[in-house]
């Protein structure tokens, strides 16, 4: 157990702090999400006051995404130009989102409104990502049955082809991700993601990655790396914007970053052994778990605590989701290693993994 001078009387379990950092790091490195949506409630459960939990988790996101970006950069998964453009637009969106949130808060609807929007967005995104990736997996299985060579990842989707086709100058070429698109479309997508992040209050990775895949037309790997890259800056901006009262326990954030640096490195490295469809399946599942957790929390708020256990259920679903996705990532890694060594793997898993190049 450790104590912090800023939190008199609060004792925190060091092992749990390390485990949470490690787990959130793996998920972040593999799916490109910041991870604050797991860390913030986890810190509150461990005993941190809410304001300290938000500040500390944002500081953790900064360190964690830095370490993850290094590995994804080495893998060639980061498009710096695209990331910076999205970031500029996203910051504008966050500002507008925060102002909308303040207006909603002024009329006393903040918690229920924010949770309702989060649930709606996460359900749409989770269901779409999961159903698209499962359909894609079925197609890959059919190709495998015909003994055709499988692509590492799909490229353009129907929506991204439409967006890429809009001829609104200036059109920019993003060499890293091999995409040509109008600057205004990129800025609009970044603004939209930032707006949602500002209203919902999450880092944006869980919305940014599917947007980059389905709207811009990036490969899943490129979307993960570029999302983590822009999260470095958006987390730093969010820290200054939301925690100007100095509620960061940097000591706790350091402990978690040390643990998560191993996790994020592992998660990012596993992307080398899987096809893009695996990344999207895990991302879809995480979003759905997060949505179910938020539904339970909203129910608890609306019923004003009349039904016991809803709040606990919300936390259990969030952490259960984290545990399950972690197990899936580890299972994918083990399956990929077996596949690479030429050992037998289940037929349904063959379309999920690849031999690292």
């Amino acid at each position: 157990m450790i104590t912090f001078p800023m939190l008199p009387g609060v004792e925190i379990n060091l092992c749990l702090l390390i485990l949470i950092g490690l787990g959130a790091g793996v998920l972040s490195g593999f799916t490109g999400v910041g991870g604050a949506f797991v860390i913030t409630p986890a810190l509150i459960v461990l005993g941190f006051p809410a304001s300290f939990a938000v500040g500390t988790s944002l500081a953790w996101v900064l360190g964690n995404s830095l370490v993850g970006t290094f590995r994804h950069g080495r893998l060639g998964n980061v498009d710096v130009k695209l990331g910076l453009l999205l970031l500029v637009a996203a910051i504008g969106g966050v500002e507008v989102g925060v102002r909308i949130l303040n207006r909603v808060r002024a009329i006393g609807l903040a918690d229920t409104a924010v949770l309702s929007i989060s649930i709606f967005m996460l359900l749409i995104m989770g269901i779409y990502t999961l159903s698209e990736s499962l359909m894609r997996k079925r197609k890959l299985d059919e190709m495998l049955a015909r003994k055709e060579k499988l692509p590492l990842d799909m490229r353009a989707t129907f929506l991204s082809r439409r967006f890429q086709g809009i001829n609104l100058p200036p059109r920019l070429r993003f060499a890293g991700s091999r995409v040509t698109m109008s600057l205004w479309i990129i800025l609009a997508i970044g603004f939209f993601v930032g707006l949602l992040s500002g209203v919902i209050g999450v880092g944006g990775g869980i919305i940014m990655v599917p947007s980059l895949v389905y709207l811009v037309g990036l490969s899943s790997f490129m979307a993960v790396g570029t999302s983590l890259f822009q999260i470095i800056f958006s987390a730093a901006y969010g820290s200054v914007r939301h925690t100007a009262s100095g509620n960061v326990i940097i000591f706790a954030a350091f402990i978690m970053v040390l643990a998560s640096s191993i996790g994020v490195l592992f998660g990012a490295s596993v992307t080398r052994y899987v096809r893009g469809v695996s990344v999207r399946i895990i991302l879809g599942i995480s979003a759905l778990f997060f949505a179910v957790g938020a539904i339970l929390k909203l129910s608890s708020l609306l019923l004003e605590g009349a039904v016991a256990g809803l709040e606990t259920g919300s936390l259990a679903v969030t952490f259960g989701g984290l545990g399950l996705t972690l197990m899936m990532i580890i299972a994918l890694f083990i399956t990929a290693l077996r596949y690479q060594r030429g050992q037998q793997i289940p037929a349904w898993a063959e379309s999920l993994v690849t031999k690292a190049d």
């Binding site: 800023m6 830095l66 590995r71 080495r74 060639g76 820290s239 100095g246």
Partner: protein, 83 residues
């Protein structure tokens, strides 16, 4: 100088940077120095404190990122660019 030796030197330097940053943060945190540090400021204390904490995290994250890359490189698990 061989590549391996160079990597080891970088590794040692980065470990020192990480160690010093952690030592500084832990020590100042435990003796309460981090609370008093910007006490002399009349305005903007909150922002400066957040920026100081972010600076510490930036240094640790960058050093740790490089360090982890070098460690994995050294033990033969470095990442190559995806084709």
């Amino acid at each position: 100088m061989g590549k391996k030796r160079k990597t080891v030197i970088y590794l040692a330097a980065l470990s020192i940077v990480c160690g010093l940053t952690i030592w500084h943060a832990v020590r100042w945190h435990l003796n309460g120095m981090d609370l008093e540090m910007f006490g002399w400021l009349q305005t903007g204390r909150g922002y400066i404190t957040v920026l100081y904490n972010l600076g510490l995290m930036l240094v640790l994250g960058t050093a740790l990122g490089f360090l982890m890359e070098m460690v994995t490189e050294l033990i033969g698990y470095g990442a190559g660019k995806r084709q």
